[in-house]
Amino acid sequence: MKSKYVNIINTKYVVASLIAILISVASCDKDFEELNKNPLLLTTMDPVYELVTAEATFTDQHHYFAQIIQQCALIIGGQEAGGNYNIRNDNQMQSMWNTSYNALRPLFDIMKTLEGNTERSNLYNMARILKVWNMMRLVDTYGNVPYSQAGLGLEGIFNPVYDDMEEIYADLATELKEATDALDATKKIETGDMYFKGDIAKWKKFGNSLLLRLGMRYSKSKPATAESIVKIATDPARGGVITTNSENVVIPYNGTQNNPNSAAFLSGTKHNWHASRPLVDFLYTNKDPRMKYIICRYSDPESATGGTIDTIGANQIGCPHGYDESTIMQDPLYPGEFKSFVYKYSQFNRQRCVRIESWHFIVTAAQTQLLMAEARSRNWITTGTAKDYYENGVKQALQLPDMFATTREGASPITDGEVAAYLARPNIAFSDATALKQINEQYWLACFLSWHEAWCNFRRSGYPQLNRINYSKEDAKVHASTDGFIRRLCYTIREYSVNKENVNKAATAIGGDELTTRIFWDTVLP
């Protein structure tokens, strides 16, 4: 009985299992190609999903831009120091570079996929407009940057050459005009688009408003170029520009996708971020109705709620620039500290403007109308009056939804009456004599939390007139410069290690990789 049992194992199981093993090895790599396809990922994707990825990209980090234009102030040094001290902090300087090129990856991919596709030409052109938006910000920040060879990683161009900033700008102007004109309501409407659900009229206004902004950049260096681009951008036959808040371009942050600015102001280091003195003083002096919704003091700034919130204008003390933790007590208005390193200066209102789900504004009616006011006062456009554009710009800024409200998308609590009162105030009421100053001061306020644009416009227009930070240990070049402001951020350390030859050429071409090197449109006025 037992030997029979052994025999069965012999003949059947041993032979069968060995044969099975041999067959499985011998069949070798038949299924390998199929096996090496990741079943959880796609090999193609509806490109509109990539458009939303680009639309959701945030580049308005507060470490430099907010502090250079003196709306936000940080006293303490360390990892987050940058614009507050006028110093180079590579980690913070590179974030714009990285996020912008990241946003360009899906955009270049859409353009590659849809090139020549007549059905989805709208999506193709929307991607082009967003490409311009990102490239413009890169040039505005760094000067010469990779453009003609950018985004070709999959094609094997790993270390692209840098292009001349002015040439990039010229091409961006052409791209923007062509892309905007090519948007066509009779073609497929891209309802997956996050900004406007594919609404062609609104996209045209976005494109034109961006073109207006681009044109105005030339106002200092090449006014004639500025004028010609502005004329094209504002030509009503091409669809016009943004006039009211319902046409604003917005990243709709929410409880899931949080506003990165707010996240920083609500993080573990939330007590370190203060409202700047020039901002607080400007708002207070002019009895700005926005002030109580954005500026406040907390009784316990380290806690989640901040404790009790004091929004009374007269009680606010903005934080001055140019100090650090060892000198801040020399500020004549120094309010003291709650405890070591937790200072009693004003901060931003966490229940309103820096809620975790606050919207972020890309291009607004207020900005656009104020640019129109300037263009009109320069006589580059001939319709309307500068005063009307200005007043509409201020009104749109004061009545911006979401920012001043306690709830997401909430309407501005500022009434038409308050707007009128504000517009009647001595420094605010429009005057042709001080038009440029007034318009661009309002632009500065209208760009609260859209700090990069505030910085660009400050460099272009020279307004508001801010005092130099003059920090004792600031960057030597900034210290030696006549104006004392950061005019540009430096190329990333990473470029110097991976794309050395090209970045070195670019640094030479722009006149040195310095905080003080000027972007081509930021010429020094005599």
């Binding site: 052994v6 996050m194 409880g255 609500l266 806690s303 975790i356 794309n499």
Partner: protein, 965 residues
């Protein structure tokens, strides 16, 4: 009953009714017929091997109080570098053989159990916690034998998995058992955290030279010691009370006594046709960190049965491993960083019962540094639970067709499911606040599955023709490796204190899947001549599913020779020279590859934007490379084995040269390409070294013997080539503070790099305003990989007692200490004590405006207020003061065991033994201040030399009782 003695062959005598047993032990024929388990589980006579294979004493492993078998190997094998991370009792072990074979972070040997590979990768979770590796699933008491296959030739039959050598483990099948035996092993281990701090105890908590003036001050400045001289007067403290302003020197009072219970019951039995071994083990380890523990239960079953010409062998190992709150060294929930940097005048235990604010329910903060979490909050409010159910084993059938010919087939599988859940507690101070009406915090739950199936067959023949012998095998293996995981994490909650997915506001589900196959065919051929010359050759070909089908086949060959000159020249050898063997070998083996890396994929984000707009894009930022191939290791090895004076002296030395080519490197590319890197086969690396094992038996008498052995290895690596023209390849940076590891062409692997002080041409440190600055150019401080590793092992036998003592060392490597960085910048370190009247730094002031020249430089005389001065270390971050020689010599272990069998000479109890063991007895030499140089909590090679304020090391006291029935 078994009798054994050093240098003598073991004898088994069946105990019957006799009252006296006389045994004459015969001197062993040395290593002549010693059998070693080699690759694929093939047993071979040691003398025939052309490569180095070291057998590890299984008893020494079982007696070690360490829960992880890997860590018990520390200091025991020449060429094997073991580091035990400080990551709790459930942590991993870090094993490296002959240096590191690649630029990557994982260069661990393959672990093969009973002929089948198992997954030994270290599993990690949120905050970088260490859940343990594959060796945690093995009960040391179940190990029958362990062999370390060091070089490429030894491991060559494992082809693409052989680049780092192999740890071969055979578990018990009850071989040699007669009848039924029961063995009970019970042990207890007590762990104590080791405190090496030697701080200044002059100045207490406070800022700017002032002690805390209020509770608010106390709760703000408890991370810094820039207060006043401690005078014992009452001062406000972070617990809201007043305590004397005096030193609290018990720095690690937060840590508790660790307590581990180990119990194993094993049954074994057999007859002339077969045997079995069955064991159940239960280990419960309470860690020194409060509320942290590791429990495991292991069931192991092994059987060997002959049915005539057919042999069936099977081993199955089932384990349940439960990790509760393994420690992290990440700042947020890292407990150690707060423990170490709580001011010298404050005691954390004051807030032991008040870590939760009674009004808000939030963390009761004790410092203004938001990331220095109250450690009691971290210990009791954060949870991280993980259970792994794992079963691995194999079934082997072997059929002896003819006396010299056999075939065998085997099925082996390693399968586990790990369930984990963890949170970040609501109200943790470092978290961002949630939107109104919600509560911040995080929760995550996940399940991961691993399965690797190996089917293999082998046909073997062994025949002699006169003076020639042939031993040949041919076989094949099909591997199928599958990894799957699903998890969901949520952020912010609707209701407070309920950590569930339903209660979470933002839910982010993720899914992972990876499947690859490798098919292999291999063969071995061994020729012998006259029993003194042996030639071995092997070849293995691997086909990879992960590679381009056009080029997915790679061949891995090896050749080796062994010349037993003591046998060949038998008549000419002196009688005291018992054994002499020369060996030489060469092999090429490979590295593994990952699936799905050759094409572009697209992925979608878990949550549509604003709940409405799906978004996604190209997955990852690496440009795929369809022509990647696995890296290759080419290794040549020579060795010499000598035995003299009947084994009183034996020596085994080996030298090797190991070249790694075609390393797959993630080469950074400009982010303007909109990608960050691409993978390229470019790197080249060399490891060279020698290993030696010298064993001596100075005393060998009837009642007393002393065996002593030294093992030593020297390994030096050199980076030969990186990506096109690149000189430096950065592999890691410390997540916080300072520390950076790079590979540099022309230098050993793992250069620690950073910024020195700014100096003049004489090397004097330049100061301005009394403060030093740093040189923006980074310099290299040395390698993080030890060059010298070794141990000195002693065993004394006296009658029924045995004493084992081990000293081991590592030398020739550097580390950067984040702890000392924090100790200096915050006023703990002894050098900060001399601060009265401000710090006058020993530097110079440049006068002529040319910092390079020193002629004009005058000594610095400017005093700087202490806090300002030392805070400058964190502002400008000089690396130099925090780079240490990481070398050490440690008295690792002392074990005393006694065989008490004769006291219980009853009919039921066949054996009784006790042993007491201490691990980490004493540090005999070290250079790192305030810390154990082994205080590294990460097992990745990339972070090797970065000490990042992980938990302290422990001293363990173990007591074990072994009963046999």
């Amino acid at each position: 009953m078994r009798f054994s003695f050093v240098g003598y062959t073991e004898q088994a005598v069946t105990v019957g009714s006799q009252t006296t047993i006389n045994v004459v032990l015969q001197e062993a024929l040395l290593q002549m017929d010693e059998v070693v388990v080699t690759a694929l589980g093939i047993t071979r006579q040691a003398k025939t091997l052309g490569y180095s294979a070291t057998t590890v004493n299984a008893v020494a492993i079982a007696e070690n109080p360490n829960l992880n078998v890997g860590n018990a190997l520390m200091g025991k094998v020449a060429g094997l570098n073991v580091s035990a991370p400080t990551s709790g009792p459930g942590g991993s072990s870090k094993l490296r053989i002959r240096g590191q074979s690649s630029f990557g972070g994982y260069n661990a040997p393959l672990v093969v159990i009973n002929g089948v590979p198992i997954n030994n990768s270290a599993e990690s979770g949120g905050f970088g916690v260490d859940y343990g590796d594959g060796l945690q699933s093995i009960n040391p008491d179940d190990i029958e034998s362990m062999t370390v296959l060091k070089g490429a030739t030894a491991a060559a039959l494992y082809g693409f998995r052989a680049k780092d050598g192999v740890i071969m483990i055979s578990t018990k099948t009850g071989a040699g058992s007669r009848g039924l035996g029961i063995e009970v092993t019970s042990g207890i281990v007590i762990d104590k955290a080791l405190d090496f701090t030697d701080f200044q105890y002059v100045y207490g908590q406070g800022a700017k030279g002032v002690r805390p003036q209020s509770v608010g001050d106390a709760r703000s400045s408890s991370s810094i010691c820039f207060g006043e001289k401690m005078d014992g007067a009452l001062v406000w403290c972070f617990d809201g009370k007043q305590h004397p302003y005096s030193p609290v020197k018990d720095r690690l009072g937060f840590y508790e006594t660790g307590l581990t219970f180990n119990n194993t019951v094993a049954f074994s039995g057999g007859n002339e046709n077969g045997s079995f071994h069955f064991s159940v083990a239960d280990n419960n380890a309470k860690a020194t960190t409060p509320n942290s523990k590791f429990d495991k239960k292991i069931i192991d079953f092994g059987i060997n049965q002959k049915f005539g010409k057919l042999t069936l062998q099977s081993n199955i190992n089932y384990s349940i491993e439960y990790n509760q709150n393994p420690p992290t060294s990440f700042q947020q929930m890292g407990i150690a960083n707060t423990v170490y940097t709580t001011a010298v005048s404050s005691d954390l235990r004051w807030v032991k019962d008040m870590y939760e604010d009674p009004v808000t329910g939030n963390e009761y903060t004790i410092t203004n540094m938001a990331y220095r979490t109250n450690p009691y909050w971290a210990a009791y409010k954060r949870f991280d639970h993980r259970t792994r159910n794992r079963i691995f084993g194999n079934v082997l059938l072997r059929y002896d067709i003819l006396p010299w010919l056999y075939v065998q087939g085997r099925v082996g599988q390693d399968y586990f499911i790990a369930d984990s859940e963890n949170n970040v507690p609501t109200g943790s101070a470092y978290l961002s606040s949630a939107p109104a009406g919600q509560y911040n915090g995080e929760y995550s739950i996940g399940k991961s599955t691993f399965r690797e199936l190996n089917l293999d067959f082998l046909i073997g023949a062994n025949k002699k023709f006169g003076q020639f012998g042939i031993d040949a095998q041919f076989g094949g293996n099909a591997m199928d490796n599958l990894n799957k995981a699903v998890s969901t994490s949520v952020r912010n909650f609707y209701a407070r204190g309920l950590y569930t997915i339903e209660n979470g506001v933002t839910k982010t589900p993720t899914q992972r899947y990876s499947n690859k196959k490798v098919n292999s065919l291999y063969g071995t051929l061994s020729l012998s001549y006259h029993d003194y010359l042996f030639l071995n050759a092997t070849a293995r070909n691997d086909w990879f599913s992960t590679l381009n089908p056009k080029s997915n086949s790679y061949l891995y060959p090896s050749v080796g020779a062994s010349f037993l000159f003591s046998e060949a020249l038998k008549n000419m050898m002196p009688s005291w020279w018992n054994y002499g063997k020369l060996r030489i070998s060469y092999a090429e083996v490979g590295g593994d590859t990952n699936p799905y890396e050759s094409t572009v994929y697209y992925s979608l984000q878990s949550n549509a934007f604003d709940g409405t707009y799906p978004y996604g894009g190209i997955s990852g930022t690496t440009v795929p490379n369809p022509s990647l191939r696995p890296l290759k290791v080419k290794e040549a090895e020579v060795g010499l084995e000598l035995i003299f004076l009947n084994r009183r002296i034996s020596l085994d030395i080996a030298g090797y040269n190991k070249n790694t080519v075609d390393e797959i490197l993630n080469v950074d590319i400009s982010s303007a390409s909109t990608f960050s890197s691409t993978k390229v086969n470019v790197g080249r690396l060399r490891n060279r070294g020698v290993e030696a094992l010298l064993s001596l038996v100075p005393v060998r008498s009837q009642n007393f013997s002393w065996e002593t052995s030294f093992n030593y290895s020297y390994n030096i690596s050199k980076v030969i080539e990186l990506a096109a023209g690149a000189q430096i390849f950065d592999v890691s940076a410390a997540p916080m503070w300072i520390g950076k590891v790079s590979h540099e062409v022309g230098k050993p692997l793992g250069s620690l790099r950073g910024n020195d002080f700014l100096r003049n041409d004489k090397g004097q440190i330049l100061t301005s305003g009394g403060q030093f600055r740093v040189d923006p150019q980074q310099m290299t401080y040395g390698s993080i990989v030890p060059k010298h590793v070794g141990g000195w092992l002693n065993t004394f036998n006296y009658k029924m007692f045995r004493v084992f003592a081990q000293i081991d060392f590592k030398a020739g490597h550097k580390l950067i200490s984040q702890s000392n960085y924090n100790f200096i910048r915050a006023g703990y370190h002894k050098i900060t004590a001399d601060r009265e009247g401000g710090i006058i730094f020993d530097g110079v002031v440049d006068v002529d405006g040319n910092p390079a020249t020193s002629e004009d430089d005058i000594p610095n005389t400017t005093p700087v207020e202490a806090q300002t001065f030392f805070t400058n270390y964190s502002s400008v971050k000089p690396y130099t003061p925090f780079i240490y020689d990481a070398s050490f010599i440690k008295w690792r272990n002392l074990t005393v065991s006694a065989d008490l069998t004769r006291f219980v000479n009853s009919r039921f109890i066949k054996g009784l033994a006790v042993n007491a063991s201490i691990n980490n007895v004493l540090v005999l030499l070290k250079y790192v201040e305030n810390l154990d140089p082994e205080c590294i909590s990460n097992v990745s090679d990339n972070n090797g030399g970065i000490e990042e304020m992980g938990p302290p090391t422990n001293r363990s006291y173990g007591l074990t009782l072994n009963l046999k029935f």
